[in-house]
Symmetry: C2
């Protein structure tokens, strides 16, 4: 019997022109999702979902990744049984220049002040 | 009998150190609220709630202004019977440098592409 991961091989993503600012902002407006995005930005490449150690349940983690994918912030791809995540930096930079860097800088500044979350 | 506006003269605002990035992003993640913020940015000063012609009911408008105020994006002050709104640009610029300008630019870019909302 195939697992869901093995049968459902592709995941829905908005094409670049379909990405909407308010959906991107809503995706970034959650502390856990912002933590995921910051880690992907630092990684500068793909990371498997399983490499994220988040303070939420597995199903909540899956939900957060889905919100990020459906808003256009990340691209998710299956590689074998692993679901890999990549920040769509080029798409976001073209559509909303400077937005993602300023959000990442703001998150770092907030963390440095010790007031995040 | 005094109206609510006349009795409840001050409105709760977060102090600058209490403003949180995820709450600011959530406040900006709504198209109507972003429209309010863009207009306030253009006005570069106070605007009364009554000067906004928004595609929502009066109570929804009040809700949107409250979300903006409680997140720290705007300051609301009663002047007589008018509720005046001011963008907290200095606070946001100090806490999250470049964030508000990049969101405003992103909103303008999206509008220029004709894909807003």
């Amino acid at each position: 019997m195939l697992t869901e991961a093995a049968t459902q091989r592709t995941l829905a993503h908005p094409e670049r022109p379909e990405i909407r600012l308010h959906e991107v902002l809503a995706a970034l407006a959650d502390p856990v999702r912002l933590q995921i995005v910051r880690r992907l930005a630092l990684a500068a490449g793909e990371l498997a979902c399983s490499t994220f150690d988040l303070p939420v349940t597995k199903s909540t983690t899956t939900h957060h990744f889905r919100v990020l994918r459906e808003s256009g912030v990340i691209r998710q791809t299956y590689r074998g049984t692993a679901k890999m995540n990549l920040l769509r930096e080029a798409a976001l930079a073209e559509l909303f220049p400077g937005l993602l860097p300023s959000v990442l800088a703001a998150a770092a500044a907030e963390e440095a002040r010790g007031t995040a979350g």
